[in-house]
């Protein structure tokens, strides 16, 4: 079964990697709901979809709010049907050396990047199990495998979602549902634009391909996993990082 006419839910779809994923799934014929934290962000997603001829719309979602997740699933079900493809992409960073990291910096990142994956996956699973088909794809990071000073909270969540995917893949494989992780390296997005120039140069020197990745290069791997072509892959983490880290 290909992506066309499937219903996809992509969290954090207003910019960067999430926007590229939503657009590529949409271009492949999926009905896409992309979420943003603000009403303005959701409207922008809707406008972008309309502009590109993508079926679906932007919706507001705070992934840390279990009630809001349930509400989103209800309105999606009414408008488009239950999501068959879930891309857990929404994420934040609150970098600090561990010695200086406050409890709030730790908890906020865990809640948004890791606990939200639990909430959304659980909310979508019921209908996927009934349909005997589903795709859950978590967006991790090379940092989850390599580590990075100042990102112990972020790295913990990014390693966490990969472990989550392996466990859930074993639980629901018999129902035709695959659960995978895509781990981007250094991608040209707002999240990496804020890094200091010296750090960027240092990172570039460690990337064999010698350049930043583009969001579309992550989206292509997500689409492959969502499509029938990727149907025999489950529990896997696919690294897309220009050779920066080779598992």
């Amino acid at each position: 079964m290909s992506i066309a006419d499937k219903v996809a839910l992509v969290t954090g779809a207003s910019r960067g990697i999430g926007a590229a994923i939503a657009d590529q799934l949409g271009a492949a014929g999926a009905v896409v709901v992309g979420t943003a934290t603000s009403a303005g962000g959701a409207e922008k997603i809707s406008a972008r979809f309309a502009d590109k001829g993508i079926k679906g719309s932007g919706m507001v979602l705070d992934v840390t709010d279990a009630g809001a997740v349930a509400e989103l699933l209800r309105s999606m079900q009414e408008q488009y049907g239950a999501p068959q493809i879930l891309v857990n992409n929404a994420g934040i960073t609150k970098d600090n050396l561990l010695m200086r990291m406050g409890e709030d910096e730790w908890c906020d990142v865990i809640d948004t990047n890791l606990s939200a994956v639990y909430r959304l996956s659980k909310a979508c699973l019921r209908q996927m199990m009934k349909a005997r088909w589903g795709r859950i794809i978590n967006i991790s990071s090379v940092v989850g495998a390599m580590g990075n000073a100042g990102q112990s909270n972020y790295a913990a969540t990014k390693a966490g979602v990969a472990g989550f995917a392996r466990a859930l893949a074993k639980e629901v494989g018999s129902r035709g549902i695959t659960v995978n992780t895509v781990a981007p390296g250094f991608i040209d997005t707002d999240m990496t634009k804020v890094l200091p120039a010296e750090q960027k140069d240092l990172m570039l020197s460690q990337i064999p391909l010698g350049r930043l990745g583009q969001p579309e290069e992550i989206a292509a791997v997500v689409c492959f996993l969502a499509d029938a072509a990727g149907g025999y892959i489950t529990g896997e983490t696919i690294h897309v990082n220009g050779g920066m880290y080779m598992a």
Partner: protein
């Protein structure tokens, strides 16, 4: 309108892929009807939909036989 017992047994048979005549009241989902843990979760989901109710997780765990399912529905929906 069929009885609650008949409706429960029909769902059990459908969900677990067994014949309706094998679904005896005393049958255990796991030991007698070959269900695994995920099957039992799906079974509870199907019961929730058939009877338009929500079964809390702590109650769902106790529903391990056909009779216990019938009892639960009777007590909570009658």
């Amino acid at each position: 309108m069929s009885s609650i017992e008949e409706r429960v047994k029909k769902i059990v048979a459908e969900q677990l892929g067994v014949k309706e005549e094998e679904v005896k009241s005393e049958a255990s989902f796991v030991e007698d009807l070959g269900a695994d843990s995920l099957d039992t979760v799906e079974l509870v989901m199907a019961l929730e939909e058939e009877f338009e109710t929500e079964i809390p997780d702590e109650e769902a765990e106790k529903i391990t036989t056909v009779q216990l399912a019938i009892d639960y529905i009777n007590q909570n929906l009658a």
